[in-house]
């Protein structure tokens, strides 16, 4: 499985100028570069492929400034500044990778590793789950340094079927809390305590199912350590076969969220939101995110069934089944008139099918009794 790519997905040509904006310039690692008003230093650096490391950053959220990995040297400033929260200004002179800055980043990673019981997690845990371990490798951070107490307390007793709350691996970046508030608008989770005792919580420290949580899974997918993990995906943990991602569109409703289906050999093991999906930007609802078991359910119908004289359902061929349905409709029409027929199109049907259905109801039967299930 590939490492997180949502930042790269957002990258555009470093030299492209946003239209209608005044061109401003600053110095980045000794080179004069252009930017536009409102950009942060991080965004400018990212556009110029500086690979500034981050852990608390998610391009969809308000910059927060927790991890401090994105610090850069700004000429004239007493201390390094967090590039994600600092607006670029004309004339700034910025260095993204001095030895001192790189050393601070390494120490920060060593500090954050020291608060956890381990950082290697199965990529099945979630979309961003490899972010921490990838950075630790990149910086050659010493995972044995700064030993001491561990933070975060897993809440394994929350036995909901979707989300594992393994806070022993939490690094308090608060991406989960912020995505729930800013993207999902649910405010189901929050921050309790302070300092090293900080803990992600819900109202009255209860279970997710007793909270405002809708199990959209966004917190899971933005978590950079796998502390929040996709329980359904983890059913495939340890199974043979390479993980593969296939980009498609969620079939549940008309919004058209882009998803990556995660498969292992011929099995669908997880769904992950596409961070660059134009309709959803990484958001999904509980159905798109977690309700995929039906795909491989052995009970799933593969052939039409007809109830015969014996009162039991029997497998049949399509020809016969369709004829049987058509007869039924005609009978209803004959006996009770054209308004006795009412159609509800499935929200999962493509537009073409929905169009055909309403055409069939309106001109075939002569009634306007047609609706769609995803009106709610």
């Amino acid at each position: 499985m590939t490492p997180p790519t949502h930042l790269q997905n957002k990258q555009s040509d470093p030299d492209s100028k946003p239209q209608g904006q005044e061109t401003l310039t600053l110095t980045l690692d000794g080179e004069e570069v252009t930017f536009f008003a409102g950009e942060t230093i991080y965004e400018v650096a990212e556009r110029h492929r500086k690979e500034v490391p981050t852990l608390c950053y998610d391009p969809r959220l308000e910059p927060f400034g927790a991890c401090r990995l994105c610090v850069v040297e700004l000429e004239g400033a007493r201390n390094p500044v967090a590039s994600c929260t600092t607006q670029a200004q004309p004339g700034m002179s910025i260095k993204t990778k001095t030895p001192a800055i790189e050393e601070h980043r390494k120490v920060l990673l060593e500090m954050v590793v020291s608060e956890n019981d381990g950082i290697e997690v199965d990529p099945l845990r979630g979309y961003a789950s490899q972010e921490l371990s990838t950075l630790v490798d990149r910086y050659g951070a010493d995972t044995g340094r700064f030993q001491g107490a561990q933070s975060g307390c897993s809440k394994f007793e929350d036995d909901n079927p979707f989300i594992l709350r393994d806070y022993n691996k939490c690094i308090s970046c608060y991406r989960c809390v912020r995505v729930c508030a800013e993207q999902e608008g649910d405010y189901a989770i929050s921050i309790k305590g302070r300092g090293f005792e900080t803990q992600i919580t819900t109202e009255f420290d209860g279970l997710l199912k007793d909270s405002a949580c809708t199990f959209c899974g966004q917190c899971v997918q933005t978590c950079p350590t796998g502390a929040l993990a996709d329980r359904k995906a983890l059913r495939a943990e340890g199974q043979d076969g390479e993980l593969q991602k296939t980009r498609t569109i969620c079939t549940y409703c008309g919004v058209g969220c882009s998803v990556d289906l995660v498969t292992q050999e011929d099995r669908l093991v997880a769904v992950q939101p596409a961070m660059d999906g134009p309709a959803n930007e990484g958001a999904l609802c509980v159905k798109g995110q977690f309700a995929f078991d039906f795909v491989q359910n052995p009970d799933r119908l593969k052939k039409p069934l007809i109830r015969r004289e014996d009162g039991e359902l029997h497998e049949a061929e399509w020809e016969e089944a369709l004829q049987r349905a058509a007869d039924g409709f005609l009978k209803a029409l004959d006996e009770h008139g054209r308004h006795s027929v009412y159609a509800i199109a499935s929200g999962r049907a493509p537009s073409e099918a929905a169009y055909t259905l309403q055409k069939w109801i309106r001109s075939g039967f002569g009634t306007n009794y047609i609706d769609n299930c995803s009106r709610a």
């Binding site: 852990l55 910059p63 927060f64 400034g65 927790a66 991890c67 401090r68 990995l69 610090v71 201390n79 390094p80 967090a82 929260t85 600092t86 607006q87 001192a100 050393e103 601070h104 120490v107 920060l108 500090m111 954050v112 020291s114 608060e115 340094r145 700064f146 030993q147 001491g148 107490a149 933070s151 690094i171 308090s172 508030a181 405010y187 189901a188 989770i189 929050s190 921050i191 309790k192 305590g193 302070r194 300092g195 090293f196 005792e197 900080t198 919580t201 819900t202 109202e203 009255f204 420290d205 909270s211 405002a212």
Partner: protein, 557 residues
Amino acid sequence: MRSLTDDEILESLRGEPAPLLPILHAFHDRDGYLSPEALKVISKGLRIPIADLYGTIDFYHHFSTGEGGHHQARVCTGPICCLKEGNQILEALRSQGATPMPCAGRCDDPVVVLKGNQALLGTSAENLQPRRSPLPPEAPTLEGFEECVFAHIRSPERSQFAGYRSTGGYNALEKACSQLSQEDLLSQVEASGLAGRGGAGFPTGSKWRAVFNAPGDPKSIVCNADEGEPGCFKDRALLDHDPHAVIEGMALAAYATGAERGFIYLRYEYPETYAILEQAINDAESNGFLGENILGKFNFKLYLRRGAGAYICGEEGSLLNSLEGKHPFPRNRPPFPVTHGFEDLPTVVNNVETLASVPPIVLKGADWYQCLGHDQNAGTKVISLSGDVNKPGNYEIPIGFPLMHLIQDWAGGTPSGKRVQAVTMAGLSGGFLAGEDLDVTLDEPCIRSKGSFLGAGGIMVFDETRDMVEIAHQAMEFFAEESCGKCFPCRIGTRRLSERLGGHAGPGELTQWLNEVEALGQTMKATSSCGLGIAAPLISDSLVKYFPEQVENHVKS
């Protein structure tokens, strides 16, 4: 008296700005704790998500969620009370549910125990009594120097409206309103060289001018009376004994900047001060120095808000978030409060002492204030002096005054004449000074040249019998417990440093130990998001610098 119903509490406060804290306190006082039902009612009434509200009240030290929690004793185990009987009192009261609390700003009168809304003082669990907080000790006369903020504080009745008036109170506001334009007042404060007394030392005149110039209304004046720094208790003295001076300073700030509303954010640990301020605000308002159409010139409504126990809420961004009912993390800067303060509108945040300095400056002039300092320094500074000295208390000194002169001559030296081993600076935030570096003058340039800073002016004295590693450990434990948890270097770094100073974790070999402590400190200082994480390593750095042998013994054992 019948206690208020939920709806009555909500209705009486919902219309005011910054309503969450007073509403929480009203429920906390009424019920003795914050029950889940109360939180649900408040969440609904103020439209704050219940998960956020639950998490946020947990941030504060003093909001209890267990029945009766509000009335259980909190015993100060800060650096000074610890030298006295703090720990013994805590142990004696533990069976009754007592818990420790960090320095409660009474280091000149230890030990302090908070019970409900009362501060009790004593030296054992048996003799705890309420008493008025100490006045600043009478200062020795000094050629060419007079006090600025303490000039009248010892006059009887100065804390009452009539007493304040009869000693020249509100004359500055009257003078400003009748003789000075906003521009005049701004220039005068600028010319005085007055700089922030809350720690950062930002020039007050420039701050006011920035707010005056910033677009957006209504503007606010916030008086930072959180005074959470251990070893600092000067704001308490000013507010207890000269509350109208601070109110007058705020009114002058409002007049100068065009602000229409003001807040005093008072730390939880000063319940008596709350009552004094409440009275003072009422009196000022009924006498026309607050409220509508003040002296025919301007409107300024002042609100009193009480914190709930969080050192970080003294940091201005965190304070503003706390006022707004948000999770009290500090804010990212820029933007600064002068343009994006309370409710994202232009706001002056000033320390109590800064504000109290303004009326004398307006009355006596910028030059007068300038000349109060020693040598090149402008003005005065209140030093809260405590620990191993004979006469602990608040001393207003000319800036630039020699430290040892203050300790030996003004405060009577150490009890039984023991050698001063070390002092802290800026409460705890400036770390230690020791050895030859005790020979400093009390001004920022001099103290900064030693790698420390004067800050809010808390100085704790430790004589030669004290275990400096243990004191450093307690100090770091304070920072670890008060770290807000927002940024990694401070959240983790303060905990790791405290573990190393306390001997709970870390390398057992000296070079490695020093290497880790230094690396943690360097990265905390360079990358922390606010002053807490930047300052905390000064404790470990200065310990290693001045007391290498004590450190070596500690690591070895």
